[in-house]
Symmetry: C2
């Protein structure tokens, strides 16, 4: 790293929707370019000779920011070169938004490719960009070395060098300037030209000249952006529960106080995010009854996503859950146990939502004077009114919804699970997340979109910190392998952070319906070891709830979405102990706390899947083998690329079974693994060089 | 295709150097974006819900134009989608620069990908871009069909539809408006709502509504550019000769009149570009003698690239070659025989160039008052002064050099081979080629850069129509295959058009030095069948000149660069007849006239290389097998993917040997090929369905 030039880092943000500026992109683009330029006029700085191409990482040519968390590094590469044979110097500029750039010289990798890294140590946005220039001093110096080696007369060359040093002196001040003036004088001095030339090759002068390089014709790339999130945006372990089902006594409506009592249980399993479905008043009109019947009795509690009633809307608390003070207590108590409370942002209204009365224009009107309810023709959801983002008052609506998020941040919430973001405009989310994170860079937004691939990725690109995935529907070896390879590598890994859920209140996959206990165990271990963030909907999960509402449905029977439930947490079949063990392994192993360095390995059984994850420094290696056959014992021989993994190919290394306990000494890359799903359908093994191995770090 | 909206196509050009605008890209970028926006203000058109991503083809995110030739098609794909479930309509906008857009509806390919094509029938620049919008009419119509299928009451829905039709009527005029008003009235009519709904589903109304779709919130992509060149930019066959060596009598300096006499010989071999090294006066000071010795005698003719003497510079004719009138005669006579004369653009000066006197500031001064000569330390080239593109008067220099090109265009020249473009700034070439082609879109520029890969590609991107390649140094099967696969596919194929040369006056590869006649034959056939454009430096090539100046050198002995040569064209060893045969095959086979659809096929001999090329419509299939062993007979079994090639896997097909003559009936994909280099080291075979085959087109 070298000195800090005075230019502050411009905000490398883009407008909230690159496709939606006020003017047509095509027209405004043209205004800036050739059509505005009279024929023959030269409108460029013709002496800028270096060019910069193919900067990585970047998302869609810089349209979106890449994502990192605090403490990570951003390793930037680019092609940079110029015409001719002059030396090119390349500088990485980087730093927190709004502060002056820091500079790091980039190192050549060959083939005109350059690389440098910088660390991101603070929450918020950073910018980075590249500056490259043809470096007259380095060119002169390199040529001079060749001339001297060839024994040529360098009388004129030292004078050329002296002029370069003079020019640098003029750019410098203080001691540097004096020193450069002295060195220029030396170069012009009375002694032998060859001797003066040799004198000019010392590294002190070179460093001085680099510090005051002539960058008047340097080329600069566009600025690219990094969003730096808290570590939890990358590594998090989620537990979803319905507060209303947390009462000790069956039949009573649970409260935030009950949830506080439940915290030790959840924290004990090693979760660090407690996610609550909407906690707001629930609409009465068209309220749904148990199992989604369209007529509810007076005592049916309704669907928490039908938000809004006489008691208030998105900033109110459902009275049966308690008060805002109770909620703040819950947030505080959870935090004391290392857990964040995540709220559900579901931007839609019940017919009883105050906004339906106060902001009628935020909803679409039907010609019969009624408000347009949600539909997926021919299905009708008359208990839900979607906001109309094409409203003439769309900007008023945006501001209002942003205020909702700010309200909950003011109550101490920083983690939000966003319901169906793909049914609201992309530009809205990009704006909202940008607005919120400008003041609260600690905020985390999880996109609950189970939709088409490009829509899922767009939501990641525009700013969601984490995203639900297709994990639930990826069950074969090939599906899991190809999907997680895609998620764990650039470009996807730079903007999309998976949060893998084996179940949700909406999704009870047939694998769980039919796979028995082993399926619940296997799917949990897959989620927990393939993805740095994962979550379960409990206690349905640990209590192995597997009955669908109808055959072929992914809906739970007697789902908590429509009614209260009472859970017997101390059921002896509960897999809570296994979940606790897996989450402890995740906490102890950096390899499992990020999504990089995931490698699948061959194993000669189609029902066994085998992969390693490694920590960024490569020191922590966790091997996971999971059986996708939940009924029969399986065995297969896996093949590990030991050198690639940093393990000794010709010496024993240790394999510690992190779940079953016990350590073995392994030798060579091939290893037979036997798995009996009746015991446990997976093995999680830490691999490390043996204590006696000289290669041990 | 549908109607033409009034917006003219903006010039989709970019500034000559994207990296070199007058202001720093990083700063100016910031000015346009978030830092200029007060916190909280919404600066986007929030109702634009469609987004557009991943448009192809494009070069470096639209920074550079893609290349096509007249008569080709541009097939554009993009991802386009919106939030929610509304129907999205996607339109490809395209057309010649400065004219109103033409529109073509894009077809969905699934997975939110869309495709449409347009033809480019005129020289010059075209623009293309994409517009996408959520289509309320198509959404309503699709929903209505589902409601009707479910037997729902649609009383309110028809009123919603009527409002959409009313709104379209307001956007229309003339008969369309009247028709739409009538249809809206019908929708509101007294008859049964279900009947009215069915009535609204007819295709006539749908077409009318599409024509007047509500695009007020449409999203537009940036405009992308296509440079449309003459067909010769893609398919050309070059012959280079030194005019001064064309005299019938040994020892006499050849003239343009001699070249005119040589035309039947060159045209007879099937060449369509005759490329002449520089034809300008040659400097006297530091003139080089035969074989590049640094002292020349008074009678040595000098190096044509040492441009400029008392008789003039880049717009003058070397007196010994003739007059400008003679040159124009040559251009005309060549044209009469179907050949373009290509001139050499070598932007450098001899010490005697008039610019050295008249524009001293265009050259770098040394502290001793002399002009900086060319160097590659420790080597010095004192007969050449490079222009100083960092001169304070760089723009004057640019204008002057552009005038040189315009001068030769005024003499009828449209094809230019540019000497060492990689030693002049990229921004200069981008500007110059843009300027020239604005008025003369027929101009073709061939980049003679043998340098690093990214520099070569940059020159292609910024505007060179064709480029020399590494072909000369790609001699093994693996080298040829991987190189031409890279060149023949996107992204490279969209901006870089190879022109393959087995030899040049500067490059006599050791393959030719040691390979004998078969090497000359094989390398010619490789160039002519792998690359749509290729060239040779003759008569050295057809007369099998193979002697280097020194062992290990790629320089010719007694090179024409430094002295006159006399060539015995009727030498019986000449391979001119083979060259003529190969070039006729190229003219008869569209498969060989472009660079797409090149596929290499397995053949079980490492010294045999096997590939097919197919015409864009797939009808013309040319199989080439070349032996890279120039001494020994070889044979191998090749494997053709018949279905992929459109040939019958289960029926005989014809294989006509285009060089040796004769046709065979082949059956199945495996075929044994024997090649004896003593006869001919290659086979060129046309494959086609048999006459009795019902699949014959």
């Amino acid at each position: 790293m070298s000195g800090v030039p005075p230019t502050p880092i411009p905000t490398p943000d883009r407008p909230p929707s690159g496709e939606a500026p006020e003017e047509d992109a095509i027209s405004s683009h043209a205004e800036r370019t050739m059509s505005a330029r009279p024929s023959g006029r030269i409108a460029v700085a013709g002496r800028r000779r270096a060019v910069i191409e193919a900067i990585s990482p970047q998302v869609d040519g810089g349209r979106f920011a890449i994502k990192r968390v605090v403490g990570e590094a951003v390793t930037v590469e680019a092609d940079a070169f110029a015409d001719g044979h002059d030396a090119v110097s390349v500088m990485l500029l980087h730093g927190p938004e709004g502060e002056p750039w820091t500079e790091t010289a980039m190192e050549p990798l060959g083939n005109d490719r350059w690389r440098a890294s910088f660390g991101v140590d603070r929450l918020g946005r950073y910018g980075y960009g590249i500056e490259a220039w043809t470096d007259a001093w380095r060119t002169w110096r390199g040529d001079l070395e060749k001339r001297l080696a060839a024994g040529q007369d360098v009388t004129v060359d030292v004078l050329i060098g002296a002029a370069l040093v003079d020019a640098a002196a003029a750019r410098a001040d203080g001691p540097d300037r004096a020193e450069l003036e002295a060195r220029a004088a030396e170069l012009r001095g009375p002694s032998d030209a060859t001797a003066r030339a040799h004198g000019a090759l010392d590294l002190a002068l070179d460093a001085l000249m680099s510090r005051h390089a002539d960058r008047s014709n340097a080329t600069r790339s566009d600025a690219l952006a990094v969003v730096v999130d808290p570590v939890r945006a990358r590594f998090s372990t989620w537990y979803e529960l319905f507060p209303r089902s947390t009462a000790r006594e069956p039949g009573r409506h649970g409260t935030f106080r009950d949830v506080i009592e439940r915290l030790p249980y959840v924290a004990g399993m090693g979760f660090d995010v407690l996610y609550l479905p909407p906690i707001h008043p629930i609409g009465r009109r068209f309220r749904k009854g148990p199992n989604n019947v369209t007529t509810a009795s007076e005592h049916d509690p309704g669907v928490p996503w039908a938000i809004g009633g006489p008691e208030g809307g998105h900033t109110a608390i459902h009275p049966q859950l308690g008060t805002l003070d109770d909620f703040r207590d819950l947030v505080r108590e959870a935090e004391r146990r290392g857990m964040a409370v995540a709220l559900d942002i579901a931007f839609q209204a019940s017919p009883d939502h105050p906004a339906v009365r106060d902001h009628r224009t935020w909803f679409r009107q039907r010609p019969d004077g009624t408000v347009q309810y949600a539909e997926n023709p021919p299905k009708k959801y008359q208990d839900i009114y979607p906001f109309d983002f094409e409203s003439a008052d769309w900007d008023g609506l945006w501001q209002h919804l942003c205020e909702v998020v700010r309200f909950w941040i003011d109550q101490g919430v920083t983690v939000f699970r966003v319901d169906n973001p793909h049914t609201k405009p992309f530009a809205f989310w990009e704006w909202l997340i940008g607005e919120v994170k400008r003041d609260h860079p600690e905020a985390i937004f999880l996109a609950e979109a189970f939709t088409r691939p490009k829509v899922m990725y767009r939501l990641g690109k525009l700013g969601f910190s984490q995203s639900y995935t297709y994990f639930t529907w990826r069950n074969t070896k090939w599906e899991l392998q190809s999907y997680f390879e895609e998620l764990s590598r650039p470009p996807v890994a730079d903007f999309f952070r998976p949060n893998a859920w084996p179940n949700t209140p909406d999704i009870l996959h047939e694998t769980l319906q039919h796979g028995g206990r082993a399926a619940f165990q296997a799917r949990l271990i897959l989620a927990a070891t393939l993805s740095a963030s994962y979550g379960i909907y409990g206690p349905a999960y640990e209590l192995l709830q597997a009955t669908p509402r109808d055959p072929g449905s992914e809906e739970y029977l007697d789902s908590e979405k429509y009614q209260l439930q009472h859970w017997e947490l101390d059921d002896e079949r509960s897999i809570a102990p296994l979940i606790g063990a897996v989450n402890r392994i995740r906490q102890e192993h950096p390899a499992l706390q990020w999504n990089g360095r995931l490698d699948f390995h061959p194993i000669d059984d189609d029902q066994l899947i085998c992969y390693t994850k490694r920590s960024p420094d490569g020191a922590d290696i966790v091997l996971t083998v999971v059986s996708l056959d939940f009924r029969n014992p399986r065995s297969g021989t896996l093949e590990l690329p030991l050198e690639w993994l940093g393990l000794p190919p010709d010496a024993p290394y240790e394999a510690e079974d992190l779940l079953a306990g016990g350590a073995e000494s392994w030798h060579g890359g091939r290893h037979e693994i036997a798995i009996d799903p009746a015991a446990l359908p997976a093995r999680i093994v830490q691999l490390r060089r043996g204590a006696g191995d000289p290669g041990v770090r």
